[in-house]
Symmetry: C2
Subunit: 225 residues, 2 copies
Amino acid sequence: MISLTEENYLKALIYLSFLAPGVEEKKDVGTNELASYLKLKSSTVNEMLKRLKEKNLINHEKYKKITLTPSGEQNGLKIVRKHRLWETFLFTKLDFDWIEIHEVAEQLEHIKSEKLVGKIDKLLGYPNFDPHGDPIPDKHGKIPQRITKNLSAVDIGKNCIVLAVSDTSKDFLNYLEDLGISIKTEIGLIDKIAYDRSIKIKIKDKQYSISKKVADNLLVNEKFN
Amino acid sequence: MISLTEENYLKALIYLSFLAPGVEEKKDVGTNELASYLKLKSSTVNEMLKRLKEKNLINHEKYKKITLTPSGEQNGLKIVRKHRLWETFLFTKLDFDWIEIHEVAEQLEHIKSEKLVGKIDKLLGYPNFDPHGDPIPDKHGKIPQRITKNLSAVDIGKNCIVLAVSDTSKDFLNYLEDLGISIKTEIGLIDKIAYDRSIKIKIKDKQYSISKKVADNLLVNEKFN
DNA sequence: ATTATTAGTTAGGTAATACTAACTATTATA
DNA sequence: TATAATAGTTAGTATTACCTAACTAATAAT
């Protein structure tokens, strides 16, 4: 049996090693890194690492980095799955505000009932992404690929999050900086002007107009709304 | 802040002191009674009693009985409310079987979010009774009165639970025993025969016919179905 | 009224999860 | 390469929530 606390450690390890934004491939995690993420002292974490290793959930040698075992990863992904399904439930079925769902899902993710997860998944229509646009692992732990598209392909009225840029020239990046656009910036698509194919967008309630060329170079991830 | 364990003690005290079937008016609870209900040792319970008293949730003097303070009762009823709302949710919204809902609700009842409880309550249409027919305390802790009726007043197709008998003669009780009817027996109402006003019932998938006189003396509580 | 039984308490122990303070190993820098 | 900085570990402490064993108080039975 994995305790609630142990589950939180696994989730943190999953996050830091490959789920955090910007982490492309799996990376090993250090004790202090984990401690500071969990807002705990490294000695506390160190002790827990022994228990997790004992339970064959992580690999860890003294003074070395931490990696998840297949079992640890599987179990951690289950928590991530539950968290994101509950967030989706709260948002779409109970009209919770986008900002409130995380905290409640932090509690709900620890409810132990395979059947409940399955029923919630079904009720939601087996969603692949949560309201933040983050992928929901399936019951086997498989993570759906993000649907990344150009900003110019986003539908009018939708919001999206900037994931990457396909032009990395100084000029382009400077221009983005002036607009206040960087990774994770939320952009709302207001309108598409047929005449010159320019696009009207909204960033933090301020409107801008950008050309199709600029929009084509912004890779984004559509959000729920 | 009331811990999960403390919540379970409060819930148990609520149950033993006035919510358990057969308890008509509030009664004081003993340490051992509580311990055996919670399947714990009395020493363990004794220690917890100190903390609950410390937190002003119970009244307790050495070697004397335990009573809940208004705060303890209020807090305990909140847990009962959540438990029964979640059971109703699982049963009516997620098609859980009647038998499975308790265990999952035991976990869900500890989720801390006023808003979540309110939303679930609303989603369910502010029910007064859970699928077992037990009353759901409202947000102020008020407990709806059970709708107790004679078996003869139950609608065709409904199931109900025997709560009491209004005839306690030996003859009547013996007759009930022969039919396998006692307190908490579940009875399904199959049909009402207009001719002699007799009633066709089902007990554990076996059908019986009883007279109106018998049905009038059985007090029952309608269940969900 | 004495004694036996039942109810309740105390003392001391354990496991899980946190902490602080002091230590050691590893890595980076001058 | 010596040393400073960073990363990681160990030792000892606290709290919560459980336990067993041994005790005392209250109640029931003869």
